[in-house]
Symmetry: C5
Subunit: 90 residues, 5 copies
């Protein structure tokens, strides 16, 4: 289980429990409302998000290259790294 789920329940940090809607909300709130739609269209939930590689974000979502580069580098990569550091459930 996630270290962060000891004591306090922080579903926000446990990507494995994010629904497709949670993922879309996250990217919308992060400043990418247009791209959030693409995540929803491609049915990306937290489990899928954890499995995404750079090329998946850049070409698999059909979003513009500029935002795609930032989404991968600042969000997808960071969420994955944080998850794997804090959780041992995958």
């Amino acid at each position: 289980p996630c270290a962060s789920t000891n004591g306090k329940k922080e579903t926000n940090q446990n990507l494995l429990q994010w629904t497709v809607a949670d993922v879309a909300s996250y990217f919308s709130a992060a400043g990418f409302p247009e791209q959030a739609v693409a995540f929803r269209t491609q049915e990306i939930d937290g489990k899928s998000l954890l499995l995404m590689q750079r090329s998946d974000v850049l070409t698999g979502l059909s979003i513009r290259l500029g935002p795609a580069l930032k989404i991968y580098e600042r969000h997808v990569k960071v969420l994955q790294r944080t998850h794997f550091l804090e959780c041992d459930d995958i």
Copy 2:
């Protein structure tokens, strides 16, 4: 031959004998009925399934990215690993 075919005949575990219909049934039963159609359209039988790589599943089937990531990680990879551990017929 597959180790698991000693004594009991478990065709289910010997991917080399799966037909295109068997592959489609498997993914349909696994919760991916829509994607099962794509496996059938691309004529993937058990032998082809054993040869699939990540990029083949993600871009060669023209299915949505979210389900594709799970199908590769939880099913194709697992079926291949199990097969190669139990069988020596390839």
Copy 3:
């Protein structure tokens, strides 16, 4: 020259001499008549066949994924390996 061309002339084994028609005939006879058309359309002769990589067969011929995986693994790879073992003319 090919080892197999010593004494007996086995053009069948010397891929470098296969024409586009020879390549198409080979795949047609191997059980892939539909895909043979794609090899012909893309103008693949024996010399080109020797240079093909996995991704070229899977995405460069616009053929279905299932047959493409078998064509590469059981035929293209095997023909190339046999050629390079027997011949030193490339």
Copy 4:
């Protein structure tokens, strides 16, 4: 911060502060006015430019191959290298 920003403010050299318009102007002035439009369409600002790889420039911008090869080799790569040598803010 960038070494070059000590004392004199050279925004030109700090890619992280380039807007989408700055990037487009740069490539237009560098002799690629047509391709500058593609950078703008894909919303590439300085931060995105720093994250671009060869394949992103060649296939992600939908520009002709000849100019794309020069743009990557003579500009994107050079801008990135210069930035990482002079700055430590990424």
Copy 5:
């Protein structure tokens, strides 16, 4: 400068000076008149030609796979190797 430019001016061997028309003429004379058009359309001059990789020739020019494989292996690769052996201006 190119070794071959000492004394005699052999522009033919200095790829860096080839124009888009020179590149097209080269491939036309080499037996690929149809593909020469693609090089011209993609605006490939000598400098771009020196930067081309296998995948650029195979997928970036939209030419048939068979000729593309030969063009890369027998011409692009050879021209690049010759250039880098004889010249030190890149």
